[in-house]
Subunit: 635 residues, 2 copies
């Protein structure tokens, strides 16, 4: 199973596993600055081992193996997460900005040093006043024709760069996102390379650096603030892949529409989102490995009169708390593997000069959705694991506390999850609008009529009747097993697809109706914002489910049966969690809904004996999971 | 509103508020041992201000005002939670054990010093191997007739006392729970006072003390471990209110049944549970005050073309995330106030020599249930608040991170929440069994028949039809308002009561059927453990709802309208969260279920303008909520 989970990038993962085993001591808390410096040391060691180089072109010392790069990076999440995040800032965001937004000149000058960790950098996008709405950043970069320089400036306190990794202590240079003003005209947000610290580590003139101070977690990362007071950089500092300014102060860009240009540049974020989603899923694996091993050996209470207490993992409630989360971790693992493969494919094509806008947008939506679900999943899973281990789970030595604190920010950094799900839904609605747009008037009418009929059917509550008939006569040959239909993959994806499509069309209808009624556009959107976000989530749920289905189909014979059980547990607990919606929309009868809950209970019991093996298959290095509360001999 | 929320113990709350304002600097993290010593200093200052004395009899320097004691203690949760927990260990658990389990001799010798903080103590109950199942503790206290002493001993590594507050650094004495062995016979768990540290702070002979090390939070509390190696204490060390050993080695107890004796002694825990529940609810108030003030001033995105961005709290999704939690915080506040009043009443009666076992059990169940819901609510609320404040919420300076880390253990200490809800359900089932027991055969038959008929009705799905008819013809005179029936308090409590009773009777039926079928008792219980816990929760949900209803009824006229809106939001979002169950059981039609969701959205918008005032009414001291991310002038 472990080989199957590791997939094509096993080698990259194993390199990082070995590395993590070598610095297992990091989970112990060090004093603030010592901890930060130790993480820097590990970052540089990691650079020397060639991990980050995988993600970069061969001409700058790289190996041009994007999939391996991401897989290795994700694997870092088995260890100290400060190292993972600092590596993300340095190699993913800072070096990534140079690679993706810069041109050959920048690549030649900086990439090798950035990849090796000799040039430490920041990704200075977020400001105190603007986190999600990046288009409204306040920092300015104004072209001064007289000196052929850009003047980088923080005009208001809200425009201060904030939460910037590497800024408080180690960063020498920053990729700064600022409103580019040329000849008095604002061309929107662009990125420039701005030196911030001298060789001696002190801030350069005009640059004020400060420390964000202690955080809930990730205290090995030196997050800080940057204020610019009329800092001058040469014109060449502009990362000019998508827009150029010449010596005469002429601004040019191959992308005329400023919005499209902005979102194209923002596309650099996709790699960060892919990585964070993967890291979150891997952090969940660490927590589940610890909590399930603990639950498989810990005894408490038990049958009256029995001399031995019962094992925690044999309690139904304990199974209910941990095993559906284990199943969802498997589901997300396979969805993430699909995403990484697609990421590598799209970026490899682009490197070969073939940029497909539709593929790019689809990739960005898939990355946003997987990041949102993966990081929320990590928060929920680690919380459940902590509670399932009681007081022992609260001690730093048992790692769950540290994992919880370190991963908590994942749900809001690299894009706030609610904003990301909106982005997913908006992408889908755009496709919707396109299908409206491409239809002739008659076609549109038919399209709307089809929706209306569906609606009428629903209102008449015929569907529950149909469902009941189906309950009575299972559409499987094995009529002796009343659950047969419930474990049918086509039934699961049918339900999830129905939900996704119904929600999206519902949102589309509500938006259209609101606009037609002349209501203010913001108000129209806001009234169905919860609906929009739920639709985005329904879409990602379906994508994740189908990724798991493919993985079961493609699995080697020896792991297929157990993987099928885990899949069923995931599918049915996903449907169970949304059963209110299905009941409201006549897609589940009350009886069938209860049968699903009963089957989830049964599947928990079915999966339980395999649970220790299922977490072993994650291949988390022993150094990360052998904690005092889990007695090694029994683990 | 604030006066109404403060209720009868306003004075006690205000004393603590003033105290907290005086040491506002504590939110800043200090190095490990300095932090612990600073918390001790504050604890002693707090003792000097008379807060803990309220909870103790007048003859030992107390004020015999239990309600004021708990209210003041809860209010400590507005400040640094390490102080609150350390105070809980010292005054609630350690001094509480002496008061409730000891006799006059112990009171005279120790109480005044314990209350003043001169004698620092531990409550050494939990062991490495036994947290929830206290009855199975491994530590022994064996009576040695030859020397008239008890020998306290840790026979196995699993019997080590663990997570004990005050053990790592400050405690001089411990209230140790151990199996009491007299004349070779084990009489079950009893409590003894055992000195653990000398005047110079070093461990006494035979006592090994160690540190639990860093924790997710509460690092101002010195949790540690204690191992006893044949430590001898005089016979008088036994806290002998409920059981005595005389100089001839005769064990006597007025409570003959060992189980009943054990649970009577365990009753000392009720005060801790009442306090932790209240502290958790107050910690939620701190988080909501910060997050709602932030959301009421922070702008992000907005209408296309508009020059100003929209305020976060005007977004539906943001309202959805925060306002139902605000409403539930109000609900829990009132439920907690009822609990504290009942706690004071029961304990005052007992002090006057009137112990009512039924009242005591009911109080213990109510405390367990409110503690479980209140602490899970805190975890959920603080998490939502943290996410709703993005990166800023992750910085220690903005307090949400600290709150989250510090409160996290509340769900599993002072009784694991799932175990506590089981306790609630078992209490209710005992009452059930009693009503079976008290009925004659005919009565029992009728009772069962009534259940069966109800079940048949449900199966025939007649109820949804009835519900639909009711939807069509609202049973209110104001037929122009289709939501009229949905805001009817009797309708809400009817639904919650139905759910509670249906679940309990379902559990009873399943248990009975399993036992009748000859299945192993543990297996029978385990198969419906999730059902048992859900029934416990349903009960507490109903109790909380009805407490809020009473509070609205009794509220002064000027706050009643807004309180009514907040109540409706709480009631309907509670029903919404469980709507799958109501749909499955034919108590909501799909249409009505959707109408509830729509009304929750509307109520969020209704409550939103009052939200800043509603958090102001919590009266959290400015020192606890004026954080950098909330601009004071706008707060």
């Amino acid at each position: 199973m472990r080989d199957y989970l590791d997939g094509p990038h096993k080698a990259a993962r194993d390199v990082v596993r070995a590395e993590l085993a070598a610095h297992a001591d990091l989970a112990v808390r060090l004093p603030h600055d010592e901890y930060r410096d130790r993480v820097l040391e590990l970052l540089q060691r990691s650079a020397a081992s060639g991990l980050p180089a995988r993600g970069f072109p061969k001409e700058y010392g790289g190996a041009a193996d994007l999939g391996g790069f991401i897989a290795g990076f994700e694997t870092l999440a088995f260890g100290d997460l400060s190292l993972m995040v600092k590596a993300g800032v340095q190699f993913g965001l800072f070096a990534g900005a140079i690679l993706h937004l810069g041109t050959e000149r920048h690549h030649k000058q900086y990439l090798a040093d950035a990849i090796s960790g000799r040039l430490l950098g920041c990704f200075a996008m977020t400001e105190t006043g603007h986190g999600s709405n990046v288009q409204a950043l306040g920092t300015t970069a104004t072209y001064d024709e007289a000196t052929d320089e850009f003047v980088v400036h923080t005009p208001t306190p809200a425009a201060r760069k904030d939460y910037i990794g590497n800024a408080a202590r180690h960063g020498r240079m920053a990729a700064v996102f600022a409103q580019l003003v040329v000849g008095g005209e604002n061309h929107g947000v662009h990125c420039l390379l701005v030196p911030i610290r001298g060789e001696d580590g002190s801030a350069l003139p005009g640059v004020t650096l400060s420390d964000c101070g202690p955080k809930l977690g990730l205290n090995g990362v030196d997050n800080g603030r940057i204020v610019f007071d009329q800092v001058r950089v040469p014109r060449a500092a502009l990362l000019d892949r998508y827009a150029q300014v010449d010596a005469n102060g002429n601004y040019t860009s191959a992308i005329e529409n400023p919005d499209r240009r902005f979102f194209t540049m923002l596309g650099t974020l996709v790699q960060g989102r892919v990585s964070v989603g993967g890291a979150a899923i891997n952090a969940s694996k660490v927590a589940l490995t610890i909590a399930i091993r603990y639950a498989a050996q810990r005894r408490q209470f038990g049958a009256p009169g029995s001399s031995e207490e019962a094992i925690l993992l044999d309690y139904r409630m304990h199974q209910r708390r941990l095993l559906p989360l284990l199943a969802r971790t498997y589901a997300l693992h396979f969805a993430q593997a699909e995403l990484v493969a697609e990421f590598a494919r799209v970026f490899d094509s682009e490197r070969d000069g073939e940029r497909d806008e539709h593929d790019r947008r689809a990739l960005e939506a898939q990355a946003a959705g997987t990041k949102a679900l993966g990081t929320w999943h990590a928060t929920e899973t680690i919380q459940q694991c902590r509670e399932a281990c009681g007081g022992a789970g609260y001690l730093a030595e048992n790692r769950l506390a540290t994992l919880k604190a370190d991963t908590d920010v994942f749900t809001t950094f690299e894009g706030d999850n609610t904003v990301l799900l909106q982005l997913v839904a908006k992408g889908l609605l755009t496709d919707y609008r396109r299908s409206f747009g491409e239809l002739d008037p008659l076609g549109t009418a038919r399209f709307v009529a089809a929706q209306a009929v569906e609606f009428a059917v629903e209102k008449a509550a015929l569907r529950p009747l149909i469902e009941r008939l189906r309950d009575a006569v299972p559409n499987r040959s094995d009529a002796s097993d009343p659950d047969a239909g419930l474990r049918d993959g086509a039934y699961h994806s049918g339900l999830l697809r129905y939900r996704e499509e119904h929600m999206l069309s519902g949102v589309a209808r509500r938006l259209k109706a609101g606009i037609d009624a002349g209501i203010d556009a913001f108000e129209v959107f806001n009234r169905c914002q919860d609906h929009v976000i739920a639709a985005g989530r329904a879409h990602v749920d379906r994508v994740v489910l189908e990724a798991f289905q493919s993985a079961v189909r493609d699995a080697p014979e020896e792991v297929q049966p157990v993987l099928q059980d885990v899949y069923d547990l995931h599918a049915l607990s996903t449907i169970e969690a949304e059963r209110a919606w299905y009941l409201e929309h006549g897609r589940l009868s009350p009886g069938r809904s209860k049968a699903i809950t009963a089957l989830v209970n049964d599947l928990c019991a079915t999966v339980r004996p395999a649970a220790p093996d299922l977490v072993d298959a994650f291949g988390v290095p022993a150094s990360a999971v052998e904690v005092p509360m889990v007695v090694p001999s029994q683990a």
